[in-house]
């Protein structure tokens, strides 16, 4: 392990800032993705669907309504 005491604060600060920014960016991406998926699911639950969305399988002939 290197001896970081000489100007070690600068090295630790550089790695700490990097870790915080990268962690924050990853967290923001994950939360944003979840939020968009949740809004999409809510809309689809209300029956709003894309024209290109897969059509749900039709009930077999003779099946009870």
């Amino acid at each position: 392990m290197p001896e970081l005491s000489y100007h070690g604060g600068f090295i630790l600060a550089a790695y700490a800032v990097t870790a915080v920014v990268l962690a924050g960016m990853l967290l923001w991406m994950l939360l944003d993705g979840r939020a968009q998926k949740r809004r999409l699911a809510e809309l689809e639950a209300r029956g709003v669907r894309r024209r290109s969305a897969p059509v749900p399988p039709a009930a077999p002939a003779g099946a009870a309504p």
Binding site: F10, I11, A13, A14, Y15, L22, L26, Q36, R39, L40
Partner: protein, 238 residues
């Protein structure tokens, strides 16, 4: 599967899986180990050289990201493919964050090495201009409500701003700068000793994989955001 199928947003969502995350974790672990345990201290800078292993990858990616955005913007303006705009938009905040990290880690390296956190030399100033362009692109997309118009204006600004990338690259050759000259990607080969060069290359590779993973995540989020927007408009019109 034809390569053109990857331009389909649904198929894009299907293939973009955590492979990049696994590659990044493995690369980062190897890179950090090599940076702290394999690389010796520099004969002049001592342990301060450890900052190089994060500063250089972010400096490289700050420019590479803008190059990626410029290609995507050109693709959007020429072929009008929405995925090209999705890629450019998703990469913008990532590029801004990486440029910020290049500036901050460089500043923290500069203080003990040069005696100053900041100097207005050509390399540092041109990277600061790049950071401001990134912020401008984010603000521009926020300011224009119509996504199609925002995409066109952002694409043009990105192409104009890409002129700054070669200025950053060659600033140390064109002007007399306090920042050191090229030491890796230069004619005649790298000037860094192998025990420092290999950890640096592994860290550059790991951070490049992280960049790719973040862009894929950002693109998936943006595709979902656009689906939500179109469904909300359908719902409002129904």
């Amino acid at each position: 599967m034809p390569v053109s199928d990857l331009a389909n947003p649904t198929r894009f969502l299907a293939w973009s899986r955590p492979l990049l995350a696994v590659l990044w974790v493995a690369g980062l672990a190897a890179g950090l180990y090599m940076s702290f345990f394999v690389s010796p201290p520099d004969y002049q800078q001592g342990e301060m050289i450890r900052i190089m292993f994060i500063h250089v990858p972010f400096a490289w990616l700050s420019m590479a990201c803008f190059g990626f955005m410029a290609v995507a913007s050109l693709g959007f303006l020429v072929w009008r493919h929405p995925l090209a705009d999705v890629a450019a938009k998703a990469a913008t905040p990532i590029g801004a964050a990486f440029t910020f990290l290049a500036l901050v880690t460089g500043s923290l390296w500069g203080k003990p090495t040069w005696g100053a956190y900041w100097v207005w030399d050509a390399r540092l100033t041109s990277v600061l201009v790049l950071f401001i362009i990134y912020l401008g692109l984010i603000a521009l997309r926020q300011a224009i409500e119509d996504p199609g118009r925002a995409a066109r204006v952002a694409a043009i600004l990105t192409l104009v701003g890409s002129v700054n990338v070669p200025i950053i690259k060659f600033s140390v050759d064109w002007w007399n700068t306090l920042h050191q000259g090229e030491s890796i990607f230069r004619a005649g080969g790298p000037t860094i000793y192998a025990t420092m060069l290999w950890p640096l290359l592994v860290m550059i590779a790991a951070m490049t994989v992280l960049f790719a993973a973040l862009v894929v995540m950002g693109m998936r989020n943006e595709i979902y955001r656009r689906r939500v927007r179109s469904l909300e408009m359908m719902a409002a019109g129904a």
